[in-house]
Amino acid sequence: MKLAAVKPVSRVLARELAVTALLLAGVSVVVFAILYFAPGNPLHALGVREAEGMANTWPGQYAAWFGKVLRGDFGHSVRTGLPVLPELARVGLNTLYLTLGALALTAAIAVPIAVHGAAHGDTAGNTAATMAAYVLSALPVFWFGYIVVYVSIHQFGMFPLISGTATKQQHAWLYFLVPIFVLGTASGTLSEMIRHLREELSRVLAEDYIRTARAKGAPVWRHAFKEGFLIPVTEIMSAKIPFLLGGAVIVEQVFNWPGMGRMAWQAAQDRDFPVIMGVALLAAAFVRLGNLAQRVVFTAVNPRASRE
């Protein structure tokens, strides 16, 4: 497959990286601002004090704080006293599995419904599936979690509430699938995903160049793939990452899943600023990373993208 770039891809990617960096800087400013205006002076808890030699103005404090963040020093948890970043990195992986797994599941449900809808229109089956998707999207994920837990205990004899340390059990990996199943089904993003994918695919199928492909006797899916499938799917998946992270916070509560979300909840209860700040920064960083990855795919595929 020939890369679609006209100008060197590296130049376009450099621009995307710059935009990402700018946004991450903005993220840090927002987080800092919240900490700065918070009563109780949480910045002190993070060790950002006047004694650091910096002027006691907000830019100075921001610089000191940001410097620490960049060095990986997110402070120490008020509750446990442990350094925040290593702890978050450890549990963050679990949240990553949960979020990405659920994202994949939601996409796996959405894609067939959307493709079928675009190709065949509003059949009875498709309408029913779309309505079911609406219901699933409005379902409170925590309640759905309880149903799944109940069923898995009473029907399958599994106890998914046991935290991830249940690796001694026989079917340990199944335990990981249950929360992924819950979040993937009831994340609230399903109906939007279906709608976006179906709209985009329908739009592409009506394009002139698809008609030429048909006239040529060429397989339509091969021509519609890039614009009608690859780009919309990566677009919507990257856009929904923040929603799935939010859902992960809730699902981790239901299943006592040792992840960043549960730590964030605990931190919010204890007003443990370093931890909650760390979660916010890491979550936003992850969202932007996902977005960057999607932009890379888009640039690689789209000949006009690199034409600026």
């Binding site: 020939k2 160049y209 030429t212 040529k216 006797g217 060429a218 789209n302 006009r304």
Partner: protein
Amino acid sequence: MLLSIENLRTYFYSRSRRAFVRSVDGASLSVGRGETLGVVGESGSGKTVAALSAAGLVSGTPGVIGGRIEFNSRNLLDGLERYVQVEERDGRVMAVEKDESGWRRQVKRLMAGVRGKEIAMIFQNPRAALNPYSTVGAQLVEAIRLHTNIRNKQEAKEKALHWLERVRIDSPRLRFDNFPSGMSGGMCQRAMIAMALSAEPSLLIADEPTTGLDATIQARIVELLGELKAETGITTMLISHDISVIRRLSDRVAVMYAGTVVESGPASQVLQPKAGHPYTAALLASVPDAETIRTKSPLQAIEGEVPDTIDRPRGCRFYGRCNRVSDAVRSRCANLEPPLAEVAPGHKLRCWLHAA
């Protein structure tokens, strides 16, 4: 006759107006082997839809609902009656029941091996008609590997370059790796022509190949088509609203108006302003040519508008705009649609002024 369309009806249903748009409403035309049939008419006359129907590319609903399309002695609408039920009243279609998915599958069966290979089609707005995400060369190679015996990629590339040269594209090797967005409209059209002809089809359908291109480029493309026609002797169905294009390339001409053919015959006879159908005469009079430029005669616009294909009155479709109506035929023109009758060998007309 290589392609023979008989009494084709292709309707589209408008949900907002709860009525049928009768795009092709009983059209018959035919193309003989080796000849170029020019199909001319204003926008909305149904000429593009007729071509798409022949290629099985109609995507609207209900689409093709009646008629017969014979290509190489095969009926491309074989079995249509099994999928469509039409209710008429006073000769007007009032309701249609159609098994769309079934018919689509049938079309797939019927057109397998035909579309692209025996019937090739090129379109207007060539830049939009090529896949923007794929290089021109890749698209050409795809066509070659699909429809010729060449499987090897290197061989296919050679063949593709050969065809790019044949369509007089500049720097074929460079263009091979270009994306359509990096090429002008004229070059894209040449590439599309190359793609269509590389399969060595029996019939080429060219739907407004010059529309959307700059005027000077249009002339070049017409020139190219003429040269290719002389070189390969390919049978062509050329659709255009541009009479000069039709005149330059056609052996026979069919004039369409409001969904049906109103005149058809040898180009020399049809494109005569004197005799023939009043609509043809009006079309010719509205376009400048050598004669009118020389004599500086005023161009005549055709009064009125193309009728709404939804609510067609009875009688001749051109009645409201015809400037040759005489009292002798007026009542017939207003109430009865004239049949397509042969007035000279090979020359048919749909007009009460010429019918018996």
